[in-house]
Amino acid sequence: MSRNESTARLSDALYELSLAQEVPDAALLDEFVRRYPEHADDLTDFAIMLAIDSLREVSQGDVPRTTLAEDKLSPAVSRAMSRFYNRLHAVQSSENISVERGVPTSEIPPNPFATLDRAAFRGMVQRLNVNTVFAIKLRDRHIVPETIPKRFTDQLAQELKVPPGVLMEHLNVQGQSQMQGQFYKAADKPQLDIKQTFCEAVKSSGLNDEQQRLLLAM
């Protein structure tokens, strides 16, 4: 195999790995290392990078482990697995130590929306009697926090199971939130700094008349 072919094959493997699963686990890496044994190191590094990225979003979350038929692993696959878990353990440990010592892992407060999966996000939307567009604007800090009624932020904090202060801290961060998993069809780079008042957001998010009336009465 020529060098160019090998590079193209690695590129394909990395791309396929990134699409296969949001957060790669040991079983997935195992499958890819078996398919592309010549790129075991690169695939392992890439899987670690993806897993670390996801850890930043879901801070302190447990990394899913998959049961493996350990006795069937080749030495190369075992080494890759071992490196994968060792590195993740090191990153998680260092973050836990930072939190225990009161040292913030980042200046940006945790995003209280980040741990919600799609069902939980939609459940929250339904219980708040809003729609997903309005909730996205809240999550991504497109609504000026000072214009949001306290009654609404209290309800939202309750739904997110965080103290109102934590929610307000998230909403008041300067700069916009960039959630993972947003795909754009645009001529230019995304504009994340567009702001609306609560009232404007209520009127422009496709909420029905009754929803708008209830929100504006808060």
Binding site: L19, M179, Q182, F183
Partner: protein, 86 residues
């Protein structure tokens, strides 16, 4: 392997499945609506420049499973924007 091949494959599979279920392949709006329903997504049209679009013409938000699409006069353009962002 073309790196977009996986995406093309899944789009082709869905297209075939929808057509087999009776959706008119020559009606782009019907195809988009059927695909959105099949994938259990939500589609919302927003005014051009709305904060929810973040400067884009269409946007797919994975966490909520929502497609936000710019309001246009052309049905074909709207359908294309929705298809390309989902």
């Amino acid at each position: 392997m073309d790196s977009l091949e996986l995406i093309r494959d899944s789009a082709t599979t869905m297209h075939s499945m929808l057509v087999a279920n009776g959706v008119d392949p020559l009606d782009p709006e019907a195809m988009v609506q059927a695909a959105i329903q099949d994938l259990e997504l939500v589609m919302t049209f927003l005014p051009q420049g709305d904060a929810g679009l973040k400067g884009a013409r269409a946007l797919f938000d994975d966490q909520s499973g929502t497609i936000c699409c710019e309001i246009t006069d052309s049905l074909v353009v709207s359908s294309l924007l929705c298809k390309r962002s989902s």
